[in-house]
């Protein structure tokens, strides 16, 4: 943007409350792809009000671009509210991601994987003779850390949910 200081690229966690209708999600996704922005993670589900969905996404971009993105999100007819959680919480929002990870666990490392899961407060949700399937929740850093500690050579499969987030304290995103 002209005469606006270009700032650093950083991750933004965006929450969107929108009508729970066919086509709402595709409009949000389409808005990003039309403008060449990448969505890194995306979650959407109905809220306590079944007519409303809450969508959470993460994207990595500059603050001037994210301002334009949030304005464009506001413009969508189905979108009720938009919040840049990273901005309103000053980076101190509560974030959680869920990961299921299938790990080879044989011989001596079987016990080591078990202990590591315990340290990370993960749960072993499926066991076979050679494998553990582990469920772990936390912020992205914790999940990345778990993968590093387990060791990539032991990992057979990983499925991650992407981030959901909520502001700390009294601040809410509601109609």
């Amino acid at each position: 943007m002209a005469n606006v200081q270009q700032d650093q690229i950083q991750k933004h966690l965006i929450s969107v409350l929108m009508e729970n209708e066919a086509g709402s999600l595709s409009r949000v996704v389409g808005l990003f792809s039309q403008r060449g922005y990448n969505i890194d993670t995306l979650n959407v589900a109905a809220t306590e009000d079944p007519t409303l969905s809450r969508l959470t996404l993460t994207t990595i971009t500059t603050s001037d671009k994210i301002e334009q993105i949030t304005k464009q999100l506001h413009k969508l007819i189905e979108v009720v509210k938009v919040q840049n959680l990273s901005e309103v919480s000053n980076g101190n929002q509560i974030e959680r991601e869920l990961m299921l990870i299938k790990v080879r666990a044989v011989g001596a490392c079987r016990e080591e994987v078990y202990r590591t899961a315990d340290i990370f407060r993960a749960q072993i949700v499926d066991v076979s003779a050679n494998l553990y399937t582990i469920l772990i929740t936390g912020d992205t850093g914790k999940l990345d850390g778990f993968i590093d500690v387990i060791g990539r050579d032991k990992i057979l499969e990983v499925v991650r949910s992407g981030v959901i987030g909520i502001a700390r304290g009294e601040r809410t995103l509601a109609v």
């Binding site: 943007m1 606006v4 086509g23």
Partner: protein, 572 residues
């Protein structure tokens, strides 16, 4: 009522008097319902793209929401260019899209097409009817969304079984629409308006930069009042032409890529820019990094995403231009503070010097018959012969810029053009819709031989509905603007910019039952043009103009507002 009857009744209740469309299997129930009533006239085009452009133009010229009806599959995909054109220029339009029955959706049925998906990037919103009883409510919502806030096109996808005549429903039309997720702002923020007034009245070198939003938002009267009260210089975008009277001393002409010297110079040297309903399009700003380095920018726009998108606004005001300008006027008129007279006088002195240096001059064609007709003179002559009162439509290319620069538009909605998308082929359908809306007015489509051929089949529609528009073809036998760029940027390599197999437009017009006139001599051009304009019915006026002429001024690409070519050999 059947779903089709619900639809027609809802359209009647929305005040629709004209629908532009083309029938097909998926919409035959709707056509049957239209046949049985007399409140809405259906205009049968020859190609759905033209239906879309006509609906768009009907809206541009009347301020009402235009309506298109097209059948499923290729019928409605043919409207996509028109939808995108309306979207880019914020024109309210409702597109009724036929769809295969719900039982077949997803089966790759004959003429099935995901129109909601295809059109998504170029619509303000879209609906698909899933229950016929919802039709009146959805139509109400579609018109409300299309015409409120920043206007735009809305698609309503209608599966055929939703209009089945055998299924009957009660007609329940809501009185109003309330959408919790859509509440456009109309009034601007009071504090921001006061700040804007402070900055504006402190200016030494102010300028008003007004766009199509002033026309669409019916803010022209307020803009004129404000500019005249403060003696402000005014420049309009291509879309804003007519928002401020072109014959006013305070009007600088259009700005931007082919803007006037005085408009671009005034913008570049301004210390305060009052941007109203304009979006700092790249065809206006040139290089954004070099844009108006000393200006504080006040930006009024109904769409917050248009503010600070490319150029940072120092004082953003989100709101309807009509309301915001009225509020500014109330405050200014209520006080006794005005601009610094001495500074303003100096500023005007400077502007008049710029005006004197280059007032849209061009080489004359008085050495007839040696020289060809100059296109600029054709447009100036048209202006004189129509007393400046005609509704002018234009296509896209060199002729468009000549039409924008050399005809003076004193009234809003007098100039109809595709500004944002730059769609070749709009000129004739736009003229047809304008003539339909205002049969008593002279309507002229200024076009080129490239553009006119993109929807020339609509000469047949003109015959059917007796639409006596005048088509002024500035014929240089080549894609003029493409060739100009190739001359200036590609060392004269004219790749595919020739039209080497042009039809005889006079005979073509005659074959459709119209009249045609060919003009080739500069000496007799004015007289022949006058006679052609006075003829009854549609007249295709094919004027052979200078093939080598370029549009000037032209900004130097990648530079500031003030860096311009003033002629082939002269730069600022």
């Amino acid at each position: 009522m059947s779903g089709a009857e619900l639809l027609v009744q809802a359209l009647v209740d929305e005040g629709v008097t004209h629908i532009f469309g083309y029938p097909g299997g998926a919409v035959l129930h709707i056509y049957d319902a239209l046949f049985k009533q007399d409140k809405i006239e259906h205009i049968l085009v020859r190609h759905e793209q033209a239906a879309g452009h006509m609906a768009d133009a009907y809206s541009r010229v009347t301020g009402k929401t235009g309506v298109v009806l097209a059948t499923s599959g290729p019928g409605v995909t043919n409207t996509v260019t028109a939808i995108a054109t309306a979207f880019m220029d914020s024109i309210p339009m409702v597109v009724l899209a036929g769809q295969v029955p719900t039982t077949l959706i997803g089966d790759d049925a004959f003429q099935e097409c995901d129109m909601v998906g295809i059109s998504r990037p170029v619509v303000k919103h879209s609906f698909q009817i899933r229950n016929p009883a919802d039709i009146p409510t959805i139509i109400k919502k579609a018109f409300y969304i299309a015409s409120s806030g920043r206007p735009g096109p809305v698609v309503v996808d209608i599966p055929k079984d939703m209009t089945n005549p055998a299924d009957k429903f009660d007609y329940v039309m809501p009185n109003s629409v309330s959408l919790r997720s859509y509440q456009p702002t109309s009034k601007g923020h009071g504090g921001q308006i006061k700040k804007a007034i402070d900055v504006l009245l402190s200016a030494k070198r102010p300028v008003v930069y007004a766009g199509g939003g002033v026309v669409q938002g019916d803010g022209c009267d307020k803009l004129r009042e404000l500019a005249d009260l403060l003696n402000l210089p005014v420049t309009n975008t291509l879309m804003g032409l007519g928002a401020y009277p072109a014959t006013s001393r305070q009007f600088l002409g259009m700005l931007g890529m082919h803007g006037t010297y005085e408009a671009n110079m005034t913008m570049h040297h301004a210390d305060v820019i009052l941007a109203v309903g304009a979006r700092f399009d790249d065809r206006v700003t040139n290089n954004v990094k070099k844009f108006c380095p000393n200006a504080q920018i006040i930006h009024i726009d109904i769409d917050p995403t248009s503010i600070s998108k490319t150029i940072n606004a120092h004082i953003p005001i989100v709101g309807d231009v009509k309301f915001v300008l009225a509020e500014m006027l109330n405050i200014i008129k209520g006080g006794d503070r005005r601009l610094d007279d001495k500074a303003l006088a100096d500023w005007w002195k400077q502007i008049l010097e710029w005006r004197a240096r280059h007032g849209l001059r061009y080489d004359p064609d008085t050495d007839a018959p040696i020289h060809a007709i100059m296109p600029q003179r054709v447009v100036e002559t048209l202006y004189k012969l129509t007393d400046g009162k005609a509704i002018i439509t234009s296509d896209v290319g060199q002729h468009q810029m000549f039409a924008a620069l050399y005809y003076k538009y004193d009234e809003p909605r007098q100039w109809l053009n595709s500004g944002g998308l730059g769609t070749m082929g709009v000129g004739l359908p736009y003229a047809m819709a304008a003539k339909l809306a205002y049969p008593e007015r002279t309507v002229v489509c200024i076009t080129g031989e490239g553009s006119i051929q993109m929807n020339i089949q609509e000469l047949s529609t003109c015959l059917q509905y007796n639409l006596p528009v005048k088509i002024l073809n500035l014929n240089n036998a080549q894609l003029g603007m493409v060739k100009q760029w190739q001359d200036m940027l590609y060392e004269g390599r004219h790749a595919q910019s020739y039209m080497q197999s042009l039809p005889d437009f006079v005979k073509l017009a005659e074959s459709y039952g119209h009249k045609g006139v060919k003009i080739t001599n500069p000496a007799t051009m004015e007289q022949e043009l006058k006679q052609a304009l006075e003829m009854d019915g549609l007249v295709f006026i094919d004027v052979y103009v200078d093939k080598s002429e370029h549009v000037y001024p032209m900004q130097v690409a990648g530079q500031s507002m003030r860096d311009m070519w003033l002629s082939k050999g002269e730069r600022t």
